[in-house]
Symmetry: C2
Subunit: 250 residues, 2 copies
DNA sequence: GCAAAAGTGTTATCATTACACCCATGG
DNA sequence: CCATGGGTGTAATGATAACACTTTTGC
């Protein structure tokens, strides 16, 4: 390879056979498309996984629910666009947010070709005041959503599957819970998201053996049974100890 | 929720307060950006993970290597655009291809804002005739690539990490090998991609216990040592038996 | 016959599963 | 005192990791 590099670089310097000088002109010749971001915002409340939706404001989707989205502004990074949408709708910033997938079917939008990038966000419902009650913004149980505007049902399902997988590999769940939570709440969260029943003792053993839960010394309050301890997740310790995994499994 | 739906739908039907009738007009008001696809095409040859690159044809990146990309044509689904790029450059179609991530930093392209969607592709090098030797199209060892045009190094590394993770969870590796392969080749592949040494006996045990390798009855040929058996991967059986995994691990 | 890699089993350790009783609280 | 869920341990099973010698081929 070294040899090829040498030769061709020397040749090119003399003749620059077909090199393009004006990058801007090149880019100007590309077709352009509108691009939006859509946020799938998950929350957890009363043992149900929920998602934040508004009514679509398109006549053609009248009555249908829609993800929170907006087009990307000029020169706006898409991650920032997604953060902006979240901020505008929920007042939250610095929220857990991750890019999931771009959806590009040419006919996915009735107004013409629009690409959209799906972002997944997790937030603790109780911390949020939905001060903007525009378009009936509110939480819906994931399991009860029947149809949505555009291809938003498909986008939501893709993000839901993404969440199911991610939560088993990374400590995302804590973003959905209050800062202090009981082990029962944590288990309910996993059971709701994964749609399985888990053994309570094994679940506790698993989490305690990770040694990433900090006992706050506080207890649950206002529960009609023996109160449980409240824990915090030790994000700092997790960052320092996360391990490299090599195991073939399929 | 049922109640709210009923009320607001009724109201809307009467007044349609702010509903947008002309979706096309709405979309026309969105800003538009050029969008490209870039293919990170992995191959495996002589125990090295390789990637297919060309010379950048931009003056500003003279001498630098570039991923294979092209802008998305009007009304072209991005998955199809990526397939098209692959087809045009390698002559292959129906190749393993998966969307990885969209890159959207406003300054990632010197000619102005261009978004790009990274696609990861895996193919068996020996099956390919690179009939188009334009722009010095050829294979490079992943470990030896120092710098690239645009943000392509970052894109490549993102796809490499993606591959390292995916190959442990899904039988992607077989796309990088010839149809018939020895267990040693398979292990070399895993070792090259994951950058680890694996125990030969445990590796064999693991794969045999999956019971997804078909003994072809054939043997290696032209090797300067005892020849190994050749196997095929049983894709059909895999599709029928892949299992649902529930294990919390982070 | 020598070099090089193929092929092959056992043991120890660790993680996962299944499972049942007493305890603390609110009502 | 009753209902509800909190809190706890053990035994069986299955997966993973470590480790060495014999066999087959080309040269």
């Amino acid at each position: 390879m070294g040899k090829e590099v040498g030769i061709s670089t020397d040749d090119d310097r003399q003749f620059t056979p077909g090199l393009i000088k004006d990058a801007r002109k090149l880019v100007d010749s590309y077709p352009r498309v509108p691009i939006t971001v859509d946020c799938v915002i998950f929350g957890f409340e009363e043992n149900d996984l929920k998602i934040l939706l508004i009514r679509s404001d398109l006549e053609i989707f009248k009555g249908e629910w829609s993800l929170l989205g907006d087009f990307a502004a000029d020169n706006e990074d898409l991650d920032e666009a997604a953060q902006r949408v979240l901020q505008q709708r929920t007042g939250m910033h610095d929220v857990y947010l991750e890019q999931v997938k771009i959806f590009s079917k040419p006919d996915r939008h009735p107004g013409g070709r629009v690409l959209t990038v799906a972002y997944c966000s997790l937030l603790s419902i109780e911390h949020i005041k939905l001060d903007k009650i525009e378009n009936e913004l509110h939480w819906h149980k994931v399991t009860e959503i029947k149809s949505m505007a555009f291809d938003h049902k498909e986008i939501m399902m893709e993000c839901y599957r993404w969440l199911q997988k991610r939560i088993q590999e990374h400590p995302l769940g804590f973003n959905l819970l209050p800062k202090k939570f009981s082990l029962r709440e944590l288990q309910n969260l996993y059971e709701a998201i994964l749609n399985v029943k888990l053994d309570r003792r094994n679940f506790r053993k698993k989490f305690f053996s990770m040694d990433l839960l900090i006992d706050t010394g506080e207890m649950e309050d206002d529960v009609p049974h023996r109160p449980g301890k409240l824990y915090e997740f030790d994000f700092a310790k997790y960052e320092n100890t996360k391990r490299r995994w090599t195991g073939i499994d399929f």
